[in-house]
């Protein structure tokens, strides 16, 4: 704090504020929902990368430097990234930026794999917790990326140098990189990260659009019922499971202090993040496949929490979700009910009958081995964990909405 760096970073919202309890002990402000880089969409990772570079540049102006550039040093608060690791700052020493390789592995290589390769490669982040190795990224990126300055300098040549020069050098390079040199490096990284692009597009981003299985009245009825129940519950925090592009998350965000919107489709999460960023809603969208939610990983499986460990939430929305889990993922209804009971105190859930066009699409070309997938069995399964407070049929669609309270 003596460096004078803390105050401007906190004032700009780039650093999480903390209280100094006693010399050497700090208590940072609490983040309401912890998220991990492998749960972020493209623009969240990109914004976190730009924040890290901005913080490093600011630190250098005050004679300080970041000793690491882990993506886990960033969290999302009020719809924007914030740097949380106050202990990463140290007085700047002459020489290279020690966190350069880590920045490339945690941020730039994953962004390139996402934008120039395949969005599904983002899942590598869950396997490589210390960033995607540069030699692997160099192999996976398309050949054309060798012709672009950013990928060439910071991934391909960097990977080749790390392998080749390491064998020649026994100690840290003695040639000190000047402050101007590090500024040039940061400037190059900044422009390279800013140049990454990803255009989200998938069939799921049109779920409530032209391909929607609702007619206009049914959707309006659903919006009206869900809105009324959210206001009735008055939750401080809402988790929207299977949020799609966030229609209901945005409604919940009008009343709740925080809405966490989960979807398995990175394109949907990207749309939600861009919308939330521009509308400044208290919305945190995260990529989460509820068929295989984030596990406990890291050292002793204790460094990164499961989804369940970050709950329960005061209210969970599970709209147009159960048929994906029951029919798409073959999860029995009692198991779905038991899992949601560990995540939610109150629950707004939608049952989608087999007659619905979306379920018919899922059953097309396969045997219907789901005789228990009925509204009666659904209610029986959830009755074991929840009290059903209210139910409402959605127009002529045959879908039914339920408001429930944990027993």
């Amino acid at each position: 704090m003596q460096s004078g760096l803390y105050a401007p970073l906190v004032a700009d919202g780039d650093l999480l504020p903390h209280d100094e309890m006693e010399p050497g002990t700090i208590r940072p402000e609490r983040i309401p929902m912890v998220s991990y880089p492998y749960e972020w969409c493209f623009s969240q990772l990109r914004d976190a990368a730009l924040l890290t570079l901005r913080v490093q540049r600011r630190a250098m102006a005050f004679g300080m430097s970041l000793k690491d550039a882990s993506a886990y040093n960033v969290q999302f608060r009020c719809g924007r990234p914030v740097f949380i690791d106050t202990l990463s700052f140290e007085p700047r020493r002459p020489g290279p930026w020690l966190a350069y390789r880590q920045f490339c592995e945690h941020f730039y290589a994953p962004l390139l794999l996402w934008s120039l390769g395949d969005a599904r490669l983002a899942r590598l982040g869950q396997s490589f917790l210390d960033g995607v190795p540069l030699d692997l990224a160099s192999t996976l990126l398309p050949k054309g990326s060798w012709l672009r300055a950013g990928p060439l300098l910071h991934v391909h040549l960097h990977a080749a140098a790390a392998a080749r020069l390491a064998r020649r050098t026994g100690a840290r390079p003695q040639v000190a990189a000047s402050g101007r040199g590090i500024e040039g490096l940061l400037d190059s990284l900044d422009r390279a990260v800013a140049a990454t692009r990803w255009a989200p597009d998938s069939s799921w981003t049109k779920y409530y659009g032209a391909d929607c299985s609702y007619d206009g009245d049914a959707l309006a009825q659903k919006v009206e019922a869900v809105t009324a129940w959210i206001q009735q519950v008055g939750p401080t925090a809402v988790w929207d499971l299977g949020a799609n592009t966030g229609l209901f998350s945005a409604i919940a965000a009008r009343d709740a202090a925080l809405v966490v919107a989960f979807d398995a489709d990175p394109a949907c999460v990207e749309r939600m993040y861009r919308d939330a960023r521009s509308s400044r809603l208290p919305l945190l969208p995260l990529v989460m496949d509820l068929g295989a939610p984030s596990p406990a990983i890291g050292w002793a499986n204790e460094e990164r929490m499961t989804l369940e460990q970050r709950g329960p939430s005061a209210l969970v929305l599970a709209l147009a979700l159960v048929h994906h889990l029951a029919i798409g993922n073959n999860v029995p209804l009692p198991a779905i009910a038991a899992y949601l009971a560990r995540l939610a105190r109150r629950l707004i859930i939608e049952f989608v009958p087999k007659s619905d066009s979306m379920v018919q699409q899922m059953l097309a070309g396969r045997d219907d081995v789901f005789p228990d997938y009925t509204q009666e069995q659904f209610e029986q399964a959830f009755d074991a964990h929840f009290i059903i407070d209210a139910r409402q049929t959605v127009g002529a669609s045959g879908r039914v909405l339920f408001l429930m309270t944990l027993r």
């Binding site: 080749a160 392998a163 020069l165």
Partner: protein
């Protein structure tokens, strides 16, 4: 813009020549090569940044040498 891009690509080509791929050993310190690479790269990029930031001053100087009037945006820098 042009001097920076061409300078960066020329430098990159030189680095590529020096760093042609060889088989990796099983146990190496992955950070040391990166630091050595960064030292060379930051020299290159620092110079590029300096040239980019001073291009208006260089343009002004060249115009003065040629006896040309100052460009309208020169007064802004």
């Amino acid at each position: 813009m042009l001097p920076t891009v061409s300078f960066g690509l020329l430098g990159a080509a030189a680095l590529m020549f020096l760093l042609s791929e060889r088989s990796a050993y099983a146990y190496i310190d992955p950070g040391m090569g990166s630091l050595a690479y960064q030292t060379a790269l930051s020299l290159l990029l620092g110079l590029g940044l300096m040239l980019r930031q001073s291009r208006h001053a260089i343009a002004r100087f060249v115009r003065r040498l040629r006896g040309l009037p100052a460009a309208p945006d020169d007064t802004q820098h």
